[in-house]
Subunit: 412 residues, 2 copies
C-alpha cells in the first residue's frame, strides 16, 4: 500500500466514533495475546534484521535491535499494563454554565491520527501502537530500516489482536515504503496527521521539527545538569551524581554536565573524583580550568558542555553561584531535566523558578523523568518543548479536547 493510501485509511478510521474503553481494553488484551502467540514469527523476522545489520550497527545498537522470547513477553506485558489505566478520553475537563443556560463542556477526545517515526527499536512498535489504541487514536508507524522485518511481524500480530476485538485493523498501520520519502510524506500530511512524534536520535528529531508542516512534538534530547550548591549535603550530592550519570548513561534523563559552586571545589572535587573514577563503571571527567586546578585530569573541550554524551563521560564546571548555574543551564541545556543539590530554600526556589526545563529537581536524581516514575503509568516519550506537552507524555498528552455546548435556542 502507498503511504498516501495508509494516510487516507487512518483518517477515515479516525473520523468514525472512537471505540469505548471496554472495547479498546479488549483489543489491548488480544494484542498482547497475539504477540505471545506469534513469538516464533517475530523472532524469525528479528533474526533476519539482526543478520542484515551484523557488522554494521554498534554493539549497543545491535542489543537494542535484538529480540528474545523474554523481551517479547515484556512487550506483551507492556501492552497489557495499559488496560488498568484510566480512560483518557471523555473526561470532563471543565464546565461553564452561562446565565442564559448555555452549558459549555470541555471534554477530552482522541487526537485522531498519530504518526510515529522511530529508529530501530522493535519494542517501540508495540509500545507506541498500544498507547495510541488506548488513547483512542489511529496510529501510523514508520519504523527504522534496520528493524523493518521485526516491525512487520509485530504489527501483523497487533492487527490480529485488533480484529479479534472487533476493531478495524486500520487503527494500526505500518508504512511500507522504506525510503526517506515515506517519512517526508508523513511530515507533510496536513489534514491527515494530527500529531507527529519522532522517537530516536537528535538527527531524526531535529529533521522532523524542521521539516514537518503537521503538528509535531519535539522529544528526547537531554543534556541534563546537576548543580551542587555551596551548602549541599555532599554525600547526597555524590550519590545523586553517581546515580544520574551511571545508572543508565544511554538514556535522555542521564546527567551530562555537573556544575559545582566555586566555594566547595576543594572539599568536593576530590571526593567526586574518587567516587566516579573508582565506581563499577569508571566515569571520564572532563573539567574546566578551575576544576582542573584542584584535581587535575582531562581538560573539557569546547563542545563538552553542549554534548549529550550518552556514555560514561561527565563534563564538570565551576560556577559563581546559583544564578550563574541557572544562566549556564538555560543557555547550554536542552530544557529536559536539571537538578540542584542544596540545603538553601531560597536557592532551591530560585533554581526551580529560574530553570526553563520540563523537569526541575531539588535534591533528587534527574533519572526520575519518566512516565512510569511520575505515576502516568506509561509514556510515549519526553517532550522538551513547551507547547501541548512538556516532560513525560502519557495518555492524557496523546489526547486533545473539544467543547460541546448544549443550548435550547440561545443566540448571541
Amino acid at each position: 500500500m502507498t503511504t498516501q493510501e495508509i494516510l487516507i485509511r487512518a483518517r477515515q478510521e479516525a473520523q468514525k466514533p472512537y471505540p469505548s474503553n471496554q472495547v479498546r481494553n479488549k483489543a489491548l488484551s488480544e494484542m498482547a495475546d497475539a504477540l505471545i502467540a506469534r513469538t516464533d514469527d517475530i523472532l524469525a523476522a528479528n533474526a533476519k534484521d539482526c543478520e542484515a545489520s551484523s557488522g554494521i550497527l554498534s554493539p549497543v545498537m545491535m542489543d537494542r535491535l535484538l529480540l528474545t522470547a523474554s523481551r517479547i513477553q515484556g512487550m506483551a506485558q507492556g501492552v497489557r499494563d495499559l488496560i488498568a489505566l484510566e480512560d483518557p478520553c471523555g473526561r470532563i475537563l471543565n464546565t461553564h454554565v452561562r446565565m442564559d443556560g448555555l452549558a459549555i463542556e470541555k471534554v477530552s477526545v482522541p487526537m485522531g491520527v498519530i504518526a510515529i517515526i522511530y529508529e530501530s527499536r522493535p519494542n517501540v512498535t508495540s509500545d507506541a501502537a498500544a498507547l495510541a489504541v488506548k488513547a483512542g487514536s489511529a496510529v501510523i508507524l514508520r519504523s527504522g530500516r534496520n528493524a523493518w522485518e521485526s516491525a512487520n511481524a509485530i504489527v501483523k500480530a497487533l492487527r490480529e489482536g485488533l480484529a479479534k476485538a472487533g476493531i478495524s485493523e486500520d487503527r494500526i498501520q505500518l508504512v511500507e515504503d522504506k525510503s526517506h520519502d515515506s517519512a517526508a510524506e508523513l511530515m507533510h500530511a496536513k489534514g491527515y496527521v494530527d500529531l507527529l512524534i519522532p522517537r530516536g536520535g537528535a538527527g531524526l528529531i531535529q529533521a522532523c521539527v524542521r521539516e514537518a508542516t503537521v503538528p509535531c512534538i519535539e522529544t528526547g534530547t537531554g543534556i541534563c545538569h546537576v548543580f551542587v550548591d555551596e551548602d549541599a549535603d555532599q554525600d547526597m550530592a555524590l550519590s545523586i551524581i553517581e546515580n544520574a550519570k551511571t545508572s543508565r548513561p544511554s538514556v535522555c534523563n542521564a546527567e551530562e554536565v555537573l556544575l559545582v559552586h566555586k566555594n566547595i571545589l576543594d572539599s568536593f572535587l576530590p571526593k567526586l573524583k574518587d567516587r566516579l573514577e573508582n565506581g563499577k563503571h569508571p566515569v571520564e571527567l572532563r573539567l574546566d580550568e578551575a576544576c582542573r586546578k584542584v584535581i587535575g585530569g582531562k581538560a573539557a573541550g569546547e563542545k563538552d558542555f553542549d554534548t549529550e554524551f550518552l556514555d560514561y563521560i561527565l563534563a564538570v564546571g565551576c560556577v559563581e553561584n546559583v544564578d550563574a548555574a541557572i544562566a549556564h543551564i538555560n543557555t547550554h541545556g536542552t530544557h529536559h531535566s536539571d537538578a540542584i543539590i542544596t540545603r538553601s530554600i531560597p536557592n532551591a526556589e530560585a533554581f526551580s523558578r529560574g530553570i526553563d526545563s520540563s523537569c526541575v529537581y531539588v535534591n533528587a536524581s534527574t533519572r526520575f523523568t519518566d512516565g512510569g516514575e511520575f505515576g502516568l503509568g506509561c509514556e510515549m516519550g519526553i517532550s522538551t518543548q513547551k507547547l501541548h506537552a512538556r516532560g513525560p507524555m502519557g495518555l492524557e498528552e496523546l489526547c486533545t479536547y473539544k467543547y460541546v455546548i448544549h443550548g435550547n435556542g440561545q443566540i448571541r
Copy 2:
C-alpha cells in the same frame, strides 16, 4: 533595532524570573492609563496610516484600521479588564507524591516568548500585548504594514506603562523591519520564540503554519455549519441560522453553510427563504440542486461549500441524515464551530461525538465561540488545531507547565 536584537532581548527577558501577578496587574493598569494619556499621539499616527491606505484598502478594512478616541478608550478598558482575571501562572495542575517521598508537582508557568504576526488592526497591538503581559511572557509584535504608525504609537504608550510599573520595557517589543524578512525571521527563530500566533486572514495563517519551524498555533479560519435535523424545532432553527449568519458575518464563528435534512426541505426552505431574504440584511442563498427544486434561486458553485464568505452569503445543501451531515462537515469544514438543531438525543450525541471541531453546538448559535462568551475573560484567538489549544485561547492556553520535583536524596 534589528529583529535579531529584538529576539535576543525578549529571550533574555523571558529567562528572568517572571513578575508577580501584583506587578503584572500594576503594569496593565499603567498601560491602560498610558493609552489614554497618549490618545492624541496615537490618533495622529493613525491618521498617517489611514491617509497612506486611503483608496487602497476596502471600506471594511479602512474601518478596521481607523482609531477614534472612543476606540482607544475601548482598548484601554480591554487592558484593564485583564487585571481582575485569575493569575494563569503558578497554578498547581497536579501533585504526585511517591512512596519514596519524592514530591512531583506539575505547575503552570509562562510560555516565555510569544510572537504575534498580525494584520492591520491597531487594537490587536494592545490586546495581544496585554494578554502576554498578564500571562507572564515577553511578547514580540509584528504589525501589518498599513497599521505601522499606529502600532508604534500604541507600543510606545504600552512600554511607558511597563516602565512605570518597574517592569523591563523589553516585555513588549515591536518589530521595526517592515519587510517580509522580519516575519520570516520570527517564524524561524528556534530557541528564541516559544509560541508563534498568527492573527489575520487565511493567507497569513497558512504561511505561518507552512513555514514556521517554531511552535505555531493555527487560528481562525471558520467555515461553520448549521445542520437542521428532520425533527428540529424549525422556529428555533430559523432564529439560530439568522443569528449565526447575519449578526456579524465578517467573523470566523459566523455560519457559512447550512445543511438541511432531506425530509424537511418542503416545510423548512420556504420559511428560510422568507426569513433570510427579507431580513434587515438580506442574505444571498446559494443552493444545491435538491434545494433549488423546492425554492428556486441561485445555484451553488463548485467552491461554495468550501468557502469562508465572511459576507451575507449562505451555501445551502441537502443531506440524507445526521451521518451524512457529519461526514460533510468533517470533510468540508475547518474544525472550528458547527451546530445541530434537533430534538433527537441520539442524533445530538452522534453529532457532538462525530464532529471533529473545536466547538460543537446542540441547539445554539455558532456565534458563541469566543473567549469572553465561554467565560475565559479574554482571548488571543480561536485555535482550529488539536495540539495545545483548541477553540478560544485564553490566558491558560498562553501558558505552559513544568514539573518541579522535591526530594531528599532520592535516586533511581
